[in-house]
Amino acid sequence: MGRRFEFGYILEFIPKLLDYLQITLLIVAASIALGLIVGLIVALPRMYHIPVLKRISAVYVSFFRGTPVLIQLFLIYYGLPELLKGLSIDASKVPVLAFVILTYGLHSGAFISEAIRAAVGAVDRGQVEAAYAIGMSGFEAFTRIVLPQAAAVSLPVFANLVIANLKDTSLAFTLGVMEMTGKSQTLGMTTQHFIEVYIALSLIYFVVSMILERLFLLAERRMLKYQPELAGHTSKKRLLQGLFLPQFKKGGEQA
C-alpha cells in the first residue's frame, strides 16, 4: 500500500498535523475539566455512603470503566440524540465535538471519581479530627485540610489519566472529528504516504505526553514539598533532557 517511504514527508507532515493539535488539546482539557466535576459529584455519595445515589455512582463507574471508550463514543453520539428526541429535544445541530467532549468527560469522570475516593481515603483520619478539634466545620475541614492532601497524593494517578485521555482522543476521528488523527487519515489518503504520516503523528503524541508527564512531575514536587520524599524525583536538568533527548532524534531517523 502507498508509495515508497520518503523521510522528508515526516518533516513535512509534522507542521500540518500540529495545526490540529489544538483540537486534540481542547478535547483533553475540556473533558478533563468535565471529568473533574463529574468525578467529584460521583465520588461524594460513595464517600459519605448516601443510600440510593451510592448505587447509581457505582453503576456509572463500572459502566464507564468496563466498556471500551470507542463503544462509548458510538453509544453517546448515536444514542443520545435518539434519547433526546424522545424528550422532543433536537440534538441534530449539536456539533460532533460536543459529543466527543461529553463522552471523554464521562469516561474520565469515572476514573477520576475512583482516584478521588482512594486519595481522600488515604488522608489520615487524625487530620480531620484535628481540624474539627480547632473548631472547623465539615466543609472547611474538607476543603482546607483533606482536599489539598488528597490532591497531592493523587497527582501521579491523575497524570496517568490525562495522558491516557490524550491518547484516547485519537479515536474521535471515527466520528469524523478533524483532530490530529483525523487529519493524518486524510493526509495519508491524499499523499499515499501512510507510514510517514503515522510516524509524524506518533512523534507528536509522544512529545506532548512527555511534556505533560514532566509538568505533572514538577507539579507533584511542588504540591508535595511538605513531604519531598514522597514526590517523584526530577530536576530541571532532567526535565530538559527528557524533552530533547539525543536518542529521541535518532529514533526518528532509524524509522
Partner: protein, 250 residues
C-alpha cells in the same frame, strides 16, 4: 468551670463509659490516670464531641450541651471553646509549623492574618520553636511536632486544653521536652485536662488527679492524697504496678 454529668458511651455492645461525672474548676490541671481500656481517652474525646456520648451533658461555663438536644451549632461552639493535643500530634501535614498554628486563628476565629501571625509566633516561641516557623511537620522530630501541637492549642486561647496522652508516641528522650512545655503553661493558669501515663508528672503538675478503671471514676482527689493515701484497693494496685514499672525503667 467544666462539668461533665452522666456521660455514657458504648461501642457496639461494650459500654466504655458508665456514667461519668467530673467537675473541673477554672485554672485546674486535671490528670486522668488509669489502665489501657479504662475509657479515659474516650472520656476526653467526649468533651469536644470527637466521640458523641450516648448519654450525658457537657457544660463549659454557660454553654450546656446535652446529648439529647445537641445541635451541630452546639457541637461547633463546644469545639471552639476547647482545644486538643493529640497522641499522634495530628499536625496538618501540608502546612508549616506557623501555618498550623495560624489555621484556627484565621479560619475559625477570623482574625486578620497579621494578628494571627503575631499570636502564632508568640505561641511557637513559648514552646521553644521560634526558630522552626517555616518547617513542615515531616522535618520536625516527634517532640518538636508535639510542641507545635501544643502551640496550636495554646494560640486559640481556649477555655480548656485537652491533652490525649501527649507523650505516649514519643521516644523516651523526647518526653522530657514536651512535659517541660506542658508544665510551663500549666503554671500560667490555663485549664487543662491531661490523660497520661506519666505518674511522676501527674503527681508534680496536676492540681487534681482522677483514677479511672472499667469505665467509671474509681477515685479522685489532690495528688498528694491519691498518690500518698489512696482509699480504694484498685487504685493502690494500679499505682503499685505503675510505680514499679516506672522504677524499672530507671
Amino acid at each position: 468551670m467544666i462539668k461533665l454529668s452522666g456521660i455514657r458511651k458504648t461501642f457496639g455492645k461494650q459500654e466504655v463509659l458508665k456514667g461519668i461525672d467530673l467537675i473541673v474548676e477554672q485554672g485546674d490541671v486535671v490528670a486522668i490516670l488509669g489502665p489501657s481500656g479504662s475509657g479515659k481517652t474516650t472520656l476526653l474525646r467526649c468533651i469536644n464531641y470527637l466521640e458523641r456520648p450516648n448519654e450525658g451533658e457537657v457544660a463549659i461555663n454557660q454553654l450546656k450541651v446535652n446529648v439529647k438536644r445537641a445541635s451541630k451549632q452546639d457541637i461547633h461552639t463546644l469545639r471552639k471553646k476547647t482545644a486538643m493535643v493529640f497522641q499522634n500530634y495530628n499536625l496538618f501535614k501540608h502546612k508549616t509549623a506557623l501555618e498550623n498554628v495560624m489555621e484556627g486563628l484565621v479560619i475559625v476565629q477570623k482574625l486578620p492574618k497579621r494578628q494571627a501571625r503575631e499570636l502564632a509566633v508568640q505561641a511557637l516561641e513559648k514552646v521553644g520553636l521560634g526558630g522552626k516557623l517555616d518547617e513542615y511537620p515531616s522535618r520536625l522530630s516527634g517532640g518538636q511536632q508535639q510542641r507545635v501541637g501544643i502551640a496550636r492549642a495554646l494560640a486559640l486561647n481556649p477555655e480548656v486544653i485537652l491533652f490525649d496522652e501527649p507523650t505516649s508516641a514519643l521516644d523516651p528522650e523526647l518526653v522530657g521536652e514536651v512535659l517541660a512545655v506542658i508544665r510551663k503553661i500549666a503554671g500560667e493558669g490555663i485549664t487543662m485536662i491531661i490523660v497520661t501515663h506519666e505518674m511522676a508528672f501527674a503527681r508534680d503538675v496536676a492540681s487534681h488527679v482522677v483514677f479511672m478503671d472499667g469505665g467509671v471514676v474509681v477515685e479522685e482527689g489532690p495528688p498528694h492524697q491519691l498518690f500518698g493515701t489512696p482509699k480504694e484497693e484498685r487504685t493502690r494496685q494500679f499505682l503499685k504496678r505503675s510505680i514499679q514499672e516506672w522504677s524499672y525503667s530507671i
